[in-house]
């Protein structure tokens, strides 16, 4: 048993080093603070994945849209809303439609 303990400890240490945590700080519905620590790896992949998905769909739709008002959209903002709830494995990312479109007048 003792022989297994040291390798187990080393593996655990290496694993924890590879999966550093980042704190997520928010408030619950009662206004009380909630702190969740999530894996930095999970944070990076989840945030980027959901943002890429939203960007792909919306940019394609916007690129194909014909604006006939003499104005052309040239700036587009996507807001990513990060939801966390108390509890293990509660890390959840969702991209809400927090869009902001900026138009520039088309020069004739």
């Amino acid at each position: 048993m003792k022989k297994l303990f040291l390798p187990f400890l080393i593996i655990l240490l290496l694993t924890s080093c590879r999966h550093r945590l980042v704190p997520m700080i928010g408030m619950d519905s009662n206004g009380d603070e909630v702190i969740e620590h999530v894996s930095a790896v999970n944070f990076k992949s989840s945030s980027a994945d959901v943002m890429n998905l939203v960007a792909k769909d919306t940019l394609t739709t916007l690129s194909n849209h014909k604006f006939n008002s003499g104005w052309d959209m040239n700036h587009f903002q996507v807001g990513l809303l990060i939801n966390t709830t108390v509890g293990p494995l509660a890390w959840k990312v969702s991209a809400t439609p927090g869009f902001r479109l900026v138009f520039k007048k088309v020069k004739k």
Binding site: R20, V22, P23, M24, I25, G26, M27, S29, G31, D32, E33, V34, I35, E36, H37, A40, F43, K44, S45, S47, A48, D49, M51, N52, A55, K56, L59, T60, S63, D72, M73, N74, H75, F76, Q77, V78, G79, L80, L81, I82, N83, T84, T96, G98, R100, V102, K104
Partner: protein, 392 residues
């Protein structure tokens, strides 16, 4: 140009990870009158490293963004927010209902446009607007709000808003634009809350339990030499004018040397304040006749004067931010020291955020609170931020 707009906000609470927190003098109010506002503790090596890790994580997230999601578009800017717990733990802000991570895309061949705050200003008010001018501007906004089905149309709502605007004009209508100081007063802003029945709520309740918030901004302050017919005289106004002048003088005394190595400057200062029925000017979030935000911008033409300006005006602070209800006051000396301390904190975060080779910080906004003892610290998100410094 790729850039970051970093927003630091602060949330109060207990935390389990006290080992990597910021020093207490960065966020906990000090009730010791002898406390030195000029000093600022250095974060521990561990806290320092944790903050580096947060920025690094965010930069690595950006690397994963598919910049060629569409051939016609490119990523130009991103905005993210940090939050601070009651015990000084810094982390990513994760607040339900608010966008905490924003990415801006721009057409590859398009002319760059300035990235602005996401919250729009609904109504611009000029000091010489008549009631019918205001009505003409309010009607389409109210129509749009009713169309969202968040509020019902109340027959008195439009008139109530005009009445509220006129009451505020009594106070701010006479402000003069000062151009001989480091900062000048550029705008005055108030938010009005409207509930689902179309009832206008008191200013202090604008963000609490309301369905929609209507933002009013006075975009032009009366210039010196303007016709006196436009001036509004009242007792409250004299206090307000004195307060504004006093703050302008204090802003002259901001020591920006801690920012020198960063190449950044404080470009804008927003001070949340209120006016009570007893004419007191307060910097707080308590019940007041109205609450508003004074917005000061940096005067690019300003040249420091050799003359020393003395200033003995006292700011009245509502103790409710610390749990009590009595009024207190702090001297301008402590106010200035607090501002200088805030600049030191801002310099620290600018240096941290500027470590990326690919992204450049375009603006950093930090919120601060001012306690009854004159302590200036990073502001909790659960309270209204009283002072906000924009670094660029």
């Amino acid at each position: 140009m790729k850039s970051i707009i970093l927003i630091i906000s602060l949330i109060t609470s207990a935390t389990l990870f006290a080992s990597s927190t910021l020093p207490t003098d960065w966020y906990q109010p000090s009730f010791d009158k002898g406390a030195n506002q000029n000093t600022l503790s250095t974060p521990s090596a561990q806290a320092d490293e944790e903050i580096d890790h947060l920025f690094s994580t965010q930069h690595k997230t950006l690397k994963r963004l598919n910049k060629n999601a569409n051939k016609k578009w490119k990523v130009t800017d991103y905005v993210f927010m940090l939050a601070l717990s009651k015990s000084g733990l810094l982390g990513f802000k994760a607040l339900n209902g608010k966008s905490v991570f924003q990415v801006y895309y721009q057409k590859k061949k398009a002319t760059p446009v300035k990235v602005e705050e996401s919250k729009p200003i609904d109504i611009f008010v000029h000091e010489d607007m008549t009631d019918s001018d205001l009505q003409a501007q309010i009607e389409p906004v109210l129509g749009a709000l009713v169309a969202t089905k968040k509020i019902d149309r109340n027959t008195t709502l439009s008139g109530d808003i005009v009445e509220r605007i006129n009451s505020v004009k009594q106070v701010v209508g006479n402000l003069e634009a000062s151009t001989d100081k480091k900062f000048y007063l550029s705008a005055f802003r108030i938010d009005l809350g409207i509930n689902s029945s179309g009832i206008l709520l008191p200013s202090w309740a604008a963000h609490k339990g309301t369905e929609v918030v209507l933002r009013l901004q006075w975009t032009r302050i009366v210039k010196k030499g303007a016709p006196k017919a436009l001036a509004y005289k009242s007792k409250v106004n004299s206090n307000f004018q004195a307060f504004t002048e006093s703050v302008l003088k204090d802003l002259n005394k901001i020591d920006e040397s801690p920012l020198a190595s960063t190449g950044k400057k404080a470009v804008k200062v927003r001070i949340g304040m209120g006016v009570t029925t007893t004419d007191a000017i307060i910097i707080s979030s308590a019940k007041t006749t109205f609450m508003g935000n004074l917005i000061f911008k940096r005067n690019k033409k300003y040249k420091p004067s050799k003359s020393v300006v003395t200033n003995d005006y006292q700011y009245v602070i509502d103790k409710s931010i610390d749990g009590a209800k009595k009024m207190g006051q702090i001297s301008n000396e402590r106010f200035i020291k607090g501002l200088n301390k805030a600049v030191k904190m801002g310099g620290y975060f600018v240096r941290k955020a500027d470590n990326s080779k690919k992204w450049k910080v375009s603006m950093l906004r930090a919120w601060y609170i001012l306690s009854v003892q004159g302590f200036m610290g990073l502001a909790p998100i659960t309270a209204t931020s009283e002072i906000e410094l924009f670094y660029k």
